[in-house]
């Protein structure tokens, strides 16, 4: 009796397996891999786009920018996504000409855990750099108080939280620190993963968020969305024009605006410390990586159509998910670039 039951279970499972494969709609599946930062936005886009074009399924998995770059170079996916632009050497290694299509931009904020402080703290660039270098050790250090005279900063140690995993967020943040602090550039440098002079490493944005939340006196850097959804305080940062700017969607778009005129044709540009009175200085693009010459004609056509939709109609979904929509002036340039893709 028991054996029959076993046989029946196995039989049902087998039929289910084969049946599910046979009955599944044979829709075109286009796979993409890469950055975790834009994942919520991309998943919204693909969901909405399915209403526009029902003949294709876009499957995007966030395995990390590095993963996205590796996979598009190995051609195991149809497009990649990255928060960090490829270097010239990396581009040379790709089997074909690889385009960077900017999709959206995001801000990296400095968040902290000081329950006794009600006002938003202000930091100037050299102060941020020296805190993370470990040179400024206490919250009531003169240099911090200078920019925050009314705050009433406590005489407590600053506990640094940084990312332990490689990440585009770290890349943007260290890019910023390198451009505002010669010390930082020489000692640590910029990258998705760096040798932090001090501090605890948390895994992922949520790891850093967790660390900051649990430790009074902690300071860390996270994507804007994490600070907002976790109700963490975040600081105003002094930008190139000397204004202390609150991180927001608007100030991020202002940062993009500050770079539009000097934008290189291949869109591989850093967004930190831009010109512009209202620009937030710690921001970055995220790109989709596609080959100029698409080998699969049908897939190529679908991808191009999606990209066009994403940088125009798609941008209206950005703000709701805390991403910065791209300004019109930039969208036009991107459209031209997309036009160069062959299929």
């Amino acid at each position: 009796m028991k054996r029959k039951l076993l046989g029946l279970t196995v039989g049902i499972l087998a039929v289910g397996l084969i049946g599910s494969i046979a009955l599944a709609e044979k829709l075109l599946l286009i796979n993409g891999a890469g950055a975790t930062f834009p994942y919520p936005l991309y998943s919204k886009w693909f969901y909405e786009y399915a209403k526009v074009d029902e003949g294709v399924n876009f499957n995007y998995q966030s395995i990390g920018s590095g993963g996205g770059i590796k996979q598009i170079m190995a051609q195991t996916v149809d497009f990649g996504a990255s928060d960090g632009a490829l270097t010239d050497e990396q581009l040379k290694q790709a089997p074909g000409e690889l385009f960077h299509i900017p999709m959206t931009a995001g801000a990296v904020v400095i968040t902290y855990n000081l329950p006794q402080i009600s006002e938003r703290l202000k930091f100037s660039p050299d102060v941020v750099a020296d805190i993370f270098l470990g040179k400024i050790k206490k919250w009531n250090d003169i240099r911090i108080s200078k920019d925050n005279p009314e705050a009433g900063l406590p005489n407590e140690d600053i506990i640094i939280a940084h990312r332990s995993d490689g990440s585009g967020t770290t890349n943007i943040f260290t890019d910023y620190l390198s451009s505002v602090s010669g010390n930082w550039k020489a000692k640590v440098g910029k990258g998705t993963s760096v040798n932090w002079p001090v501090g605890l490493g948390g895994k992922g944005n949520e790891g850093v968020t967790g660390l900051v939340k649990q430790s009074p006196g902690a300071i860390g850097y996270v994507e804007l969305a994490y600070a907002v959804t976790n109700n963490l305080p975040y600081a105003d940062i002094e930008n190139k024009s000397g204004n202390f700017i609150t991180p927001s969607i608007e100030s991020t778009t202002a940062a993009v605006n500050g770079k539009v005129d000097s934008m290189p044709a291949d869109f591989r540009v850093s967004l930190v410390n831009p010109d512009g009175a209202d620009a937030y200085p710690i921001s970055g693009f995220t790109w989709i990586l596609v080959y100029k010459n698409q080998t699969d004609k049908i897939k190529g056509k679908k991808i191009v159509k999606f990209l066009r939709w994403a940088i125009t109609d798609g941008q209206k979904y950005s703000e709701g998910l805390l991403y910065a929509p791209l300004p019109e002036s930039m969208v036009k340039k991107i459209e031209e670039r997309i036009g160069e893709i062959n299929y």
Partner: protein, 308 residues
């Protein structure tokens, strides 16, 4: 004659399957070595003694990670082995009949919890508990030991060791329990006949007989501890530094690979990460040799004999 034929084929067939495991592992090591070659060529043996890990300047050294892996696993085993044996003894020998099945089942269920869940629980429940209640207590009364000195953050070596121990307890205790259950009654009866107490019966009649099996269970647990990534990386603080204090943050080999592999660009970086994988492989190798030697000593027989 039909019988003989089956016999011949059978032995070879199972041997083949067993060997395929070796072949697979060798292929794996070869694969890793190929990826790791650039780093091996660049750093040589210095890789094992350097303490810097700098992806920007491309200086990589494995020492802090080796330290972190060994200490966190040792701590985990220190906690897990006695507790697991306690559980196994209780379930196999002491517990009343009605409690045995549900309790065994529950403890095995601990093994089903995904590592990522352990990690999240660790950072949101265990770490604050340690930071607020346990670590201050340890610092106050045991602070004279270098083990419990320095700042504590909730995350760190101690937290990682505790979480690892929770993760390997199901394995060690379940396998040990099964081993105890098949110890022949005659062993226990002999001890009882000599007038032993309950505990003495267990010690003489069960534990001694099951030594080899227990060590096998411990080795399985040790393997799991050495290679565990997700849960550890969320609670260990991820700082490649060597420190005597258990409160300090640390970093394990498996964690650094898991953390940096998906985002690593740059061939030397990737190569160095895989080289860490190779180093972990060899550390596991060495530890297993040590454990084998221990089994050999303890069981006193050539491994490979079936018990009476």
């Amino acid at each position: 004659m039909k019988i003989k034929f089956f016999d011949l084929g059978f032995k070879e067939a199972v041997a083949l399957l067993a060997l395929s495991v070796v072949a697979l592992t060798l292929l794996l090591v070869y694969n890793m070595a190929t990826y790791a070659m650039p780093a091996i060529q660049k750093f040589g043996l210095h890789f094992l003694s350097t303490t810097t890990w700098d992806p920007v300047k491309e200086i990589f050294g494995a020492l802090p990670f080796i330290y972190g892996t060994i200490i966190s696993s040792a701590l985990a085993l220190l906690i897990a082995v006695p507790v697991s044996l306690g559980i196994a003894i209780y379930l196999a020998e002491l517990a009343p009949a009605w409690i045995r099945e549900p309790l065994s089942f529950l403890i095995e269920l601990l093994a089903a919890i995904p590592s990522v869940v352990y990690g999240l629980w660790g950072i949101f429940v265990l770490a604050p508990f340690l930071r607020q209640d346990v670590q201050p207590f340890l610092a106050k009364y045991f602070g004279f030991l270098p083990l419990f000195q320095g700042n504590f953050y909730g995350v760190g070596m101690l937290t990682a060791g505790i979480i690892l121990s929770i993760m390997i307890i199901p394995t060690i205790s379940s396998v040990s329990r099964e081993v105890f259950l098949v110890v022949p009654f005659s062993q226990r009866e002999a001890a009882l006949a000599l007038g032993a107490t309950r505990w003495e019966t267990i010690r003489l009649g069960v534990l001694k007989y099951a030594r080899a099996g227990i060590l096998g269970a411990v080795i399985l647990g040790m393997g799991r501890a050495l290679g565990e990534t997700m849960a550890v990386t969320m609670v260990i603080g991820n700082r490649p530094e060597i420190s005597a204090s258990l409160f300090a943050p640390s970093y394990t080999m498996a964690s650094v690979i898991a953390n940096e592999f998906t985002e690593a660009t740059g061939d030397l970086f990737l190569s160095a990460l895989i080289e860490i994988g190779l180093v972990l492989f060899f550390v596991t190798l060495v530890l297993n040799i040590a454990a084998r030697a221990l089994i050999w000593q303890v069981s006193g027989k050539m491994k490979g004999e079936i018990r009476e």
